[in-house]
Amino acid sequence: MAEPYLRVENLVKRFGPFTALGGVDLEVYPGEVHCLLGDNGAGKSTLIKTLSGVHQPTEGKIYIEGKPVTFRSPRDASAAGIGTVYQDLALNPLMSVTRNFFMGRELTGPLGSLRMAEMNKIAHDEMLKIGIDFSDPTQAVGTMSGGQRQTLAIARAIHFGAKVLILDEPTSALGQRQQMGVLKTIKRVRARGDIAIIFITHNEIHSRLVGDRYTFLALGKSIGAGTAAEIGDKEMRRLMSGGAEMGDLKAELDAI
């Protein structure tokens, strides 16, 4: 087995007296989709915010290609190849696809002028590679569907050098058809082979459809992890519900 691109060892994150993450391990490999599953409040967002340099870990280590790293800011993380697509996507609805794609990293010519034709072409091509043929890159992002916006944010992260693509619940706010669109996008990125994907979701079916490896979080701890082959459907369902057996849950409800 190849070396993991990103490895997390015994990561602890405390907010004052509150332990949001109580020692989590994680390994992500290029060309794989690593699903991060768990209930609301389990600590998924805290984990990825730590990986993206938003939070500093209280304890534990992060390794990139085997070397220990510390991220002091999101900029550090992004320079190390961590591309995070947050739930709000960091897009500007009134601006065009191209202007959003290159926001803050514009290609400029003399006098700081924008190389617009070139930028339009790159934005179009990068989005085409992962699944949408966007005929008009001058269209405002506000007119795009939620799934298209996801694709734009993902294409942008990849174009600017993401080696680990972190997607925080990319499907949760979308309708059925668009969810499939995002899953297709994830598959296409995976097929490139050089990018590791961390996919956060609540949805068992989605994680089954695209996941190579799973980590289940509950109350800030990893309660189970393994490859798709190792984790069967029944085990998956048990871990999804925070480690409880279906029978136990039923008994809990029946008691009311």
Binding site: P74, R75, Y86, D88, L89, A90, L91, N92, P93, L94, M95, R99, F102, M103, G104, R105, E106, T108, L111, G112, S113, L114, M116, I132, D133, F134, S135, D136, Q139, A140, G142, T143, S145, Q148
Partner: protein
């Protein structure tokens, strides 16, 4: 069904359709209506050689400050201190021209008076910007404070140093100073020469009547042209739009949003200073009430030109149309003596309201109704 994808759902528009949906369209139509109406109602007098010069003079004045106000609004902030800044800058220049440089450093040339004033106004603009971005307070309140503060400082300085709140009877600096001439002299004389050569532009004695436009016309063209280029074609322009649209998204992508805002507060101060300099060197006078209410006209024109109050959207071309419209109506009373001058404000209120509604519709269309 198989070849149905997201791309095919976007209807291809013709160039004409695209043009009709542009945000400047409303302002353009209103402008054309006003031009035609004024030409008819004034019996052509509004656009005879002198009428044109006078109209352009006020349009350029409005246009200069509205460009600054619009650029700042696109970045999501307001500047209510523009009018007081005009008063302050005019006072500062006229005072130096009359009483010499501060601290008894001798006489001030027109250029020195201008550049020392500009250094001060840019400094104040920088300070306003820093207060806004550091405190996170609304720029509406911060600049409202500066509206009072600067106007007060202007009056106090006038009374303390000059014993009167106005300065008049300064020598006509245009005659010997090329710099004063650049600010207050005439430009595009060839236009009126040509008009004369073609048999028009005659006064009663049959001589050439008008010799050129006010210099502020050129300044307006320079400022609006530069703002247009920067906003629509450059990296900084992209940062300005991004800052006003969604500041957090811009920041997350590495846009220096605070620097953008501070820079634009300095830009509005710059526009106010140019406005004041053109006035001072043209008339060789100044008084403490100069620029009064101009901040509100600047914002109104920016909105009439299609700039969104909420930031992130707007066009300098629209602001040009807005300045022409508002300038012509402000001046209309001189060409149509029968009407009461107060109708100007009635009209401005009306189109402002209409523009806000129109802009809101545009915003909804772009953001998909959010």
């Amino acid at each position: 069904m198989a070849d149905l994808n997201e791309a095919t759902r976007l209807q291809k528009e013709t160039t004409l359709q695209k043009l009709l949906r542009r945000p400047e369209m409303g302002a353009f139509v209103v402008m054309i209506v006003i031009i035609v109406a004024l030409a008819i109602a004034s019996d052509g007098k509004a656009f005879n050689p002198l009428g044109l010069k006078n109209n352009i003079a006020i349009i350029a004045q409005y246009g200069i400050i509205a460009t600054g106000a619009a650029a700042l609004m696109i970045a999501g902030e307001f500047d209510l201190s523009i009018g007081s800044m005009i008063g302050f800058a005019g006072m500062s220049m006229a005072m130096m021209l009359k009483w010499g440089l501060p601290f008894g450093l001798g006489e001030a040339s027109p250029a020195m008076a201008f550049f020392i004033t500009l250094a001060m106004t840019l400094g104040i603009g920088w300070m306003i910007g820093m207060i806004v971005v550091r405190s996170g307070l609304s720029s509406f309140i911060v600049t409202l404070a500066f509206l009072f503060f600067l106007r007060g400082v202007t009056e106090v300085c006038f009374r303390l140093i000059n014993q009167s709140t106005q300065i008049s009877g300064l020598p006509d600096f245009k005659l010997e100073s090329w710099f004063a001439n650049l600010m207050g002299g005439e430009v595009f004389g060839w236009f009126y020469d040509l008009w004369f050569m073609l048999g028009g532009n005659l006064n009663r004695r049959g001589e050439q009547w008008v010799t050129g436009f006010d210099a502020r016309f050129l300044w307006w063209i320079i400022i609006a042209g530069a703002a247009y280029f920067i906003l629509s074609r450059t990296q900084i322009g992209n940062w300005i739009y991004a800052t006003g649209d969604n500041k957090e998204a811009a920041r997350a992508n590495g846009v220096p949003v605070d620097k953008v805002k501070v820079g634009l507060f300095m830009f509005t101060a710059f526009c106010a200073t140019i406005f004041a300099a053109c006035q001072v060197y043209d008339t060789n006078t100044s008084d403490a009430a100069k620029g009064n209410l101009m901040e509100l006209f600047a914002i109104a024109i920016a909105v009439v030109g299609g700039t969104l109050m909420t930031g992130g959207f707007g066009s300098i071309i629209g602001v040009v149309f807005g300045a022409i419209t508002v300038g012509l109506v402000a001046n209309a009373v001189f060409f149509i003596p029968a009407i009461d001058g107060a109708w100007f404000r009635v009209f401005l209120g009306g189109i402002l309201l209409a523009a806000v509604f129109a802009n809101e519709r545009i915003r909804k269309r772009i953001t998909g109704g959010i």
